[in-house]
């Protein structure tokens, strides 16, 4: 396939996934803000989205209204939900023929609808509906590509984009909230407040129910970290993401007669670390250090994939 097509599909999927993650993050911030410190909750959402500095350049203080608007639709935030959708569509349109009609319609329909949004749509009262709408678009998109794409390179590059973006997002969310997970930082273990804080991490990745099904016990910090890092059955965990990433890269390598490069080595190294890692060891050597490394390696892997396949 065309190198440029691979790049467009990869980024299309990344922007759609980023938009979806943002919607979950904002939703969690909004629902937790009533329980915890409003400012702190929105501040951590901005940090997890990687736009806290940009935000401070535009606003003096953090309010739920301005933070939500900034994350959803702001000319000064290139990673806002609406901008993600714009960029997704530009990538989709650039390679219109590499998309199935269902995929295109999912993106284009969402984009057309986004043209109709007014700032009212991002007000606290209407925000939940708007975020539902965002998730409907991304779900429609992933459904469309899962069910309609041929299992060829187009598909594997699209899927690669989805999972690399998701791995990066999950690592960021955990990192922002990591101090909540450290036992010594959480005074009064078992208190109502802690319960909410840990739950807020789970909410941001839509994993509250999943936690219950996997652990069947009260929310505990190491369980939360394990769920999001190492559990294979958790679809947003880093482990699940890297299993998918290595599969995609293997499939792509197979198309090219087994030829492999640095991106394959790096993905394999990260995946096996997650596959054989133990949560106790990770806590011992430092969760924050571990997550920082994960975020850096995800960026490095993106560069290596581009260098090997997209030039």
């Amino acid at each position: 396939m065309l190198a440029r097509a691979a790049e467009s599909l990869f980024w299309l999927a990344r922007y759609m996934e980023r938009m979806d993650n943002l919607a979950r993050l904002i939703e969690a911030a909004q629902s937790m803000a009533g329980v915890l410190s409003e400012t702190e909750e929105w501040r951590s959402a901005l940090t997890a989205a990687g736009v806290d500095e940009l935000y401070d350049a535009t606003y003096d203080i953090v309010t739920p209204e301005s933070a939500a608007l900034f994350l959803c639709n702001s000319p000064t935030n290139p990673s806002a939900i609406v901008s993600c959708l714009d960029k997704a569509r530009i990538n989709a349109r650039a390679m219109r023929g590499a998309l199935t009609r269902d995929m295109w319609e999912a993106v284009n329909q969402g984009w057309l609808e986004s043209r109709q949004l007014t700032s009212e749509a991002f007000s606290p009262a209407r925000l939940p509906d708007t975020l539902d709408w965002v998730r409907t678009i991304s779900t429609r998109f992933s459904g469309a590509y899962q069910t309609t794409m041929l299992r060829n390179e187009n598909y594997w590059f699209t899927r690669l984009g989805t999972f690399l973006e998701r791995a990066d997002n999950t690592a960021r969310i955990l990192d922002v909230k990591y101090h909540l997970l450290l036992p010594e930082a959480s005074s009064g273990v078992g208190g109502m407040l802690d319960y909410y804080q840990w739950t807020s991490v789970l909410r941001a990745v839509s994993a509250v129910r999943a936690y219950q099904w996997v652990y069947r016990e009260e929310v505990k910090p190491w369980n939360v970290a394990e769920l999001l890092l190492l559990r294979q059955e958790m679809p947003r965990s880093l482990r699940a993401c890297y299993d998918a990433i290595t599969q995609c890269l293997d499939e792509i390598a197979a198309v090219h007669g087994g030829k492999r490069g640095e991106c394959h080595r790096l993905a394999g190294a990260i995946a096996s670390q997650l596959r054989y890692g133990r949560i106790g060891d990770i806590f011992q050597s430092g969760l924050h250090e571990h997550l920082t490394q994960q975020i850096e390696r995800a960026a490095e892997l993106g560069d290596q994939i581009a260098a090997y396949y997209m030039r």
Binding site: A3, R93, R96, E105, Q109, E153, K259, R311
Partner: protein, 477 residues
């Protein structure tokens, strides 16, 4: 008697046989149902993203071409006649191009002069003496036809470079089939869906000889081009890559595209960029739309370009008037399709006549397209005519004039129901090394403004689905 021939009512007002079912359907269907269907059609087009960029200041760059839900119908006999005429005409145009870039028999026969050809802006000196793979120059031709009477069809214009609109032909049909499945059940309509396969077969037939399976690509200027939707649509329908200039490289006079697995050889390029942009080494040095060295590869016979560079010389409005003569000269046949009488303003006598009769003529720029810069005499004011006369006197050779044809009308759904609007028809003619193919139908364009004769989408025209009826519809009626 009507002033114009109407496709449905003829001149006398009786429903013509081809439209019998359509007339019943229109009579049976309440206007609000048609209204609702039209809105549904518009939603479908928007969702699919069939948009067209219109170059005006400020406005929306992605606009829909209005679609009319009442189909334009041709019966089997009419189509058979048009098909014969189109094949003949396009064969002659291809022979003309081979002659222009080859032996120049037509000059020796005294029909055209070398100067006439060599000084033509669309003439491409770089390919003089080069025989393209398969000997075909205009692989995809769009021939614009108008009707003025029951048996009177005229060719208004030949488009031999990169005619567009075929995606509308295909999408219009698929939308109509979705909106009115019952009509298709009642009326036997020839399918058009095989066009992309025909196109691919045509393109593969002109691939340079070799052992490899020929690799065909579509070359687009990119997503901001007005016809980008069509480029991606055709690539997708054919199952071939849609490339941009940056995806192509030329090595050892062979063309390759950059893929995830390295460089891959390309054999046929269906290019949707103009000659000038094909190769910065030969043409415009500032162009980034083509590929450096492409023309060298072409001259070496390693790549087929559809349509061939220089094919534009055959569709110029000043060359147009010679096409009937070409048909006689190259094929030894009488032209089946009429040409519109044309005055070449470069000729002094013609210019004088045109200036005297501006009120009744249509004057067009020979190099113009898209309905820009033309004067429709009967619809003009004295002021615009005077201004136009001034331009004419300044550069007479830039203009040709034709009588204002009484373009046929076709019932069209407007605010107050079905009303006659003027239409034309652009069928798409495919020429490969293995012969000529035409899918039954084409793009019908309709001037939506009452009385208007300008059907171009850039001037507010719309489109209709074009139905060619089966030979024996409904079991031999």
């Amino acid at each position: 008697m009507r002033q114009f021939f109407d496709d449905m009512h003829g001149l006398d007002g009786d429903i013509r046989a081809a439209y019998a079912e359509i007339a019943t359907w229109l009579a049976e269907t309440p206007p609000h149902t048609l209204s609702a269907k039209r809105e549904e059609a518009e939603r479908l087009f928007r969702r699919i993203g069939i948009t067209f960029a219109v170059y005006t200041e400020g406005g929306d760059t992605e606009r829909l071409i209005p679609f009319d839900i009442i189909p334009r119908v041709l019966d089997a006999e009419e189509w058979a006649f048009l098909e014969r005429g189109l094949k003949q005409r396009v064969n002659a145009l291809n022979l003309f191009l081979a002659d222009v870039y080859g032996a120049r028999e037509i000059v020796r026969a005294g029909k055209l002069t070398n100067a006439h050809i060599d000084s033509h802006p669309a003439y491409c000196a770089h390919v003089q003496g080069v025989t393209p793979p398969g000997g075909v120059y205009t692989h995809i031709a769009g021939i614009d036809l108008v009707r003025t009477g029951v048996n009177d069809f005229y060719v208004l214009e030949d488009n031999c470079r990169t005619p567009s609109g075929v995606s509308y032909m295909l999408e219009n049909r698929s939308v109509m089939m979705r909106l009115f499945p019952d009509l298709f059940a009642r009326i036997g309509v020839e399918p058009v869906a095989r066009y992309p396969q025909d196109l691919l077969r045509t393109l593969r037939s002109v691939a340079p000889a070799g052992d490899e399976e020929p690799c065909v690509v579509v070359l687009t200027p990119g997503q901001f081009n007005s016809a980008y939707y069509e480029h991606s649509f055709l690539a997708d329908e054919m199952g071939v890559e849609l490339v941009e200039g940056i995806d192509l490289v030329v090595r050892d006079k062979k063309v390759f595209m950059r893929t995830t697995g390295g460089l891959k050889r390309v054999h046929v390029i269906y290019r949707r960029i103009d000659d000038d942009f094909l190769d910065p080494m030969v043409f415009r040095p500032d162009s980034v739309l083509g590929a450096f060295g492409l023309m060298e590869a072409y001259r070496a016979g390693n790549i087929a370009l559809a349509n061939a560079p220089g094919a534009g010389i055959a569709d110029d409005k000043a060359i147009y008037m010679h096409v009937p003569e070409m048909i006689r000269f190259y094929l030894g046949e009488e032209p089946i399709l009429n040409n519109v009488p044309t005055w070449d303003c470069a000729n002094e006598g013609a210019l004088a006549y045109v200036l005297d009769h501006l009120e009744e003529l249509v004057v067009k720029e020979t190099r113009g397209s898209g309905g820009y810069g033309m004067l429709v005499g009967p619809h003009s004011t004295k002021k615009t005519r005077d201004a136009f006369a001034k331009k004419l006197r300044q550069t007479p050779s830039a203009y040709v004039a034709q009588p204002t044809l009484a373009l046929s009308t076709c019932p069209t759904f407007v605010a107050d129901g079905a009303a006659p609007r003027h239409v034309d028809l652009r069928p798409f003619v495919l020429s490969g090394a293995d012969g000529v193919r035409i899918v039954p139908g084409g793009l019908t364009r309709v001037a939506l403004t009452e009385g208007s004769l300008v059907v171009n989408s850039s001037q507010g025209g719309g489109t209709k689905d074009t139905w060619v009826l089966h030979t024996r519809q409904n079991g031999g009626k």
